[in-house]
């Protein structure tokens, strides 16, 4: 992958973060979609905005791209103020919107040529980049297919390619892997890593917690606010005090109710057929197991596990949707 065009903002020698948000807020009437969000994204890193639907991720990303004007707060992207010079921002970034917005009734190459042309690529550059993008997306031989005829994974890679045609130093990806199979998602993240290694700053929103592991740094959002921030490792270490055990039990739903009354148990969550039991002290697992057995459930196994981001997330946001600390 060749160097990003705007190496000025992408290279490590630039002073200052690629993206900086300060108290960014967006209100739609009485509804606060984004509430005083602040973070910094160093150049060349992969930064994740994590959260459930409606948490405010898309609104945040849209503000950073100059698509929405913030109600209050400031942000700079590549050193440019998003509120004062949104068009300047747009020239330097790539953006992939949530709906993989390609033109469904245009072919692969027509889409590429259009977006390339609109970004000001010369004819020669267009030919080069088209070949590259097609290869990157794995669409050799399929250039004449209509975009709507592509399956999810290809479409997503094509959309990414179209967003990168002008070699921006910063890319914003809004739920880029929504609705695609795990293999496509993996492939996609391979591409993102490649980009980051070449110096491109990537800001991704996702609600897939497993993908969040691939980010250098994360921000967890809930109801418009940031509830946690840090690298995946740091988050797991700091948020989960104590340990998490995975327990195999015959009826997880019943098990969960059984453990509700147990004071030593911090939290319980169902993971398919297993329970994740969160405890302050390792030895409290015996109390938990006893509670399950006395509820008439059989336990086939238990083990201490490394907490996943999902555990982190659940710890932070309880079932009623209120943020806990």
């Amino acid at each position: 992958m060749s160097q990003p065009m705007d190496a000025g903002t992408g290279s490590a020698t630039t002073a200052g973060p690629a993206i900086r948000a300060q108290e960014l807020t967006k209100r739609f009437g009485p509804f606060v979609a984004v509430d005083s969000v602040s973070f910094e994204v160093p150049a060349g890193s992969i930064f994740g905005l994590l959260g459930a639907n409606g948490a405010g991720k898309s609104t945040t990303i849209r503000m950073l791209c100059g698509l929405l004007a913030p109600t209050s707060g400031t942000a700079t992207v590549a050193g440019i103020d998003i509120a004062r010079n949104p068009e300047g921002v747009k020239r330097r970034i790539g953006y992939m919107s949530q709906r993989f917005s390609l033109y469904n009734d245009l072919t692969v190459e027509e889409n590429i040529r259009f977006f390339g042309g609109v970004y000001g690529l010369s004819d020669r550059e267009l030919v080069e980049r088209q070949r590259e993008t097609v290869r990157l997306a794995g669409l050799e031989g399929r250039e004449k297919l209509l975009a709507r005829e592509l399956s999810g994974g290809w479409k997503q890679r094509l959309a990414l390619g179209c967003a990168m045609l002008h070699r921006p130093g910063i890319v914003f990806l809004d739920e880029p892997t929504g609705g695609t199979d795990p293999i496509s998602r993996r492939l996609f993240w391979d591409v993102i890593n490649e980009l980051a290694q070449a110096g491109t700053t990537v800001l991704v929103t996702t609600h897939y917690l497993d993908e969040a592991e691939y980010c250098n740094e994360l921000v967890l959002m809930h109801a418009g606010r940031i509830v946690a921030q840090g690298s995946p490792g740091v988050l797991k270490r700091e948020v989960i005090t104590g340990s998490v055990f995975e327990v195999e039990c015959s009826d997880p739903v019943a098990g969960m109710s059984a453990l509700r009354g147990v004071p030593e148990v911090r939290e319980t969550a169902i993971f398919a057929t297993r329970l994740h039991v969160s405890l302050d002290r390792d030895q409290d697992i015996e109390t938990a197991l006893a509670a399950l057995r006395s509820a008439g459930l059989s336990v086939s196994g238990h083990a201490r596990i490394v907490p996943s981001l999902e555990d982190v997330f659940i710890r932070l946001i309880d079932r009623n949707g209120a943020a806990t600390e």
Partner: protein, 379 residues
């Protein structure tokens, strides 16, 4: 500008892909003008007349003949009495009924007033009004003839003092000697068709991308509002040129109606008209949030009012001043004057400068408004 070229290319590519759209755009005007050009005919002639002659005298037969030979009426039914004449009107079989009572002939020869009744279908006030006017004229002529006949029996000295005044209007009809309403209506139908198609085409232009989500991807690029608007308009301007040619050709072939004025002026001004019409559709597209909204707005606030109020068949001068004021913003109003002037009167540009200026003003205003309204923001 390069960007505009890319947008235009994309628009054409998309138009080609929608299989049904292009044939519709080019064929439907021809069909419409064939259908509607023949139908838009307001000549009031061959009014169906129910004849009720209860007298069967020479005089009554003469009267009936004068009605039927006037060219304005055609015998729809021969009925025996006034009641069946009324029924004939009720059922819509005839618009007028001539009822000649049994004493008609006798009263005339006996120098008494001979009663004559004419029934008219008021629900069709057009035909009724004109039918009555013609009938009054025919009867009036019959009166004069009768009066002259009666005078023959008078004293010659008295006769010499009587002045048979007869003022005859010698009528000269300009531009359309046959008074065929077709010559007036076909250019009008042409204008209507052009207006409908252009407004529909552009009203979707921007709002469709809004709804599908591609607009978001578009406004995050360096594209400027001006580039987008021009890029969206240009393909339709080209298409408009083709449509104008097609319908002009069709009117010539089907109706033999050719342009008396300059063809170049017609093209130029038609293009100007379509530009302002396209501009209105585009403006609606920037205002509406969904395609459905765009359609409703363009249909109910622009197309239907323009069709009814721009002077196609209902004269603007007869409208209340408030509504007349509204029609000043309708490009169609000016285009009717232009196209009818060019087809019928053979006027030159000099007589049409006012309308041209109005169209230009509307076009510029609407397109500028679209550019200004179009924000590269999402809310």
């Amino acid at each position: 500008m390069r960007t505009i070229r890319f947008i235009i290319r994309k628009e054409f590519q998309q138009l080609r892909r929608d299989r049904r759209l292009l044939p519709l755009i080019f064929l439907s005007p021809v069909l419409q003008i064939a259908l509607l050009g023949y139908a838009a005919n307001m000549d009031v002639k061959d009014i169906p007349l129910a004849v009720c002659d209860q007298d069967h005298s020479v005089e009554s037969r003469q009267l009936v003949t004068s009605f039927l030979e006037s060219g304005s009426y055609v015998a729809a039914a021969y009925v025996p009495d006034a009641a069946s004449a009324e029924r004939s009107i009720e059922q819509g079989k005839s618009s007028l009924a001539l009822v000649i009572p049994p004493e008609f002939g006798r009263s005339l020869t006996g120098r008494k007033a001979a009663p004559l009744q004419l029934l008219a279908d008021g629900s069709d006030s057009q035909s009724a009004a004109i039918g009555l006017t013609y009938a009054t004229l025919i009867v009036s002529r019959a009166q004069t003839a009768q009066a002259a006949a009666r005078l023959l029996g008078l004293d010659p000295r008295v006769l010499s003092q009587i002045k048979a005044v007869q003022v005859d209007p010698a009528v000269r009809v300009l531009y359309n000697p046959t008074l065929a309403s077709r010559n007036f209506m076909v250019p009008g139908v042409l204008a209507l068709i052009l207006m409908v198609i252009t407004t529909i085409l552009t009203s979707q232009a921007i709002v469709k991308e809004k709804e599908l989500g591609t607009l978001e991807q578009l406004i995050v690029t360096p594209i400027t509002p001006r580039q987008l608007i021009i890029g969206k308009l240009a393909p339709f301007v080209l298409i408009s040129l083709v449509i104008i040619t097609v319908v002009l050709f069709a009117s010539l072939l089907l109706f033999g109606i050719a342009v008396r004025g300059s063809l170049l002026v017609l093209y130029a001004l038609s293009l100007l008209f379509m530009l302002s019409s396209l501009g209105i559709g585009l403006f609606v597209s920037t205002v509406a949030r969904t395609q459905q909204q765009a359609m409703m707005i363009s249909m109910f606030f622009f197309m239907m009012p323009m069709i009814i109020l721009s002077g196609f068949v209902f004269p603007i001068e007869s409208m209340p001043p408030v509504i007349q004021a509204v029609t000043y913003i309708f490009p169609l109003r000016y285009y009717f004057v232009i196209i009818r002037g060019l087809f019928l009167k053979g006027v030159s540009f000099a007589e049409l400068w006012r309308e041209t200026a109005a169209l230009a003003a509307i076009g510029i205003f609407v397109i500028a408004a679209s550019v200004l309204r179009f924000r590269k923001r999402l809310e």
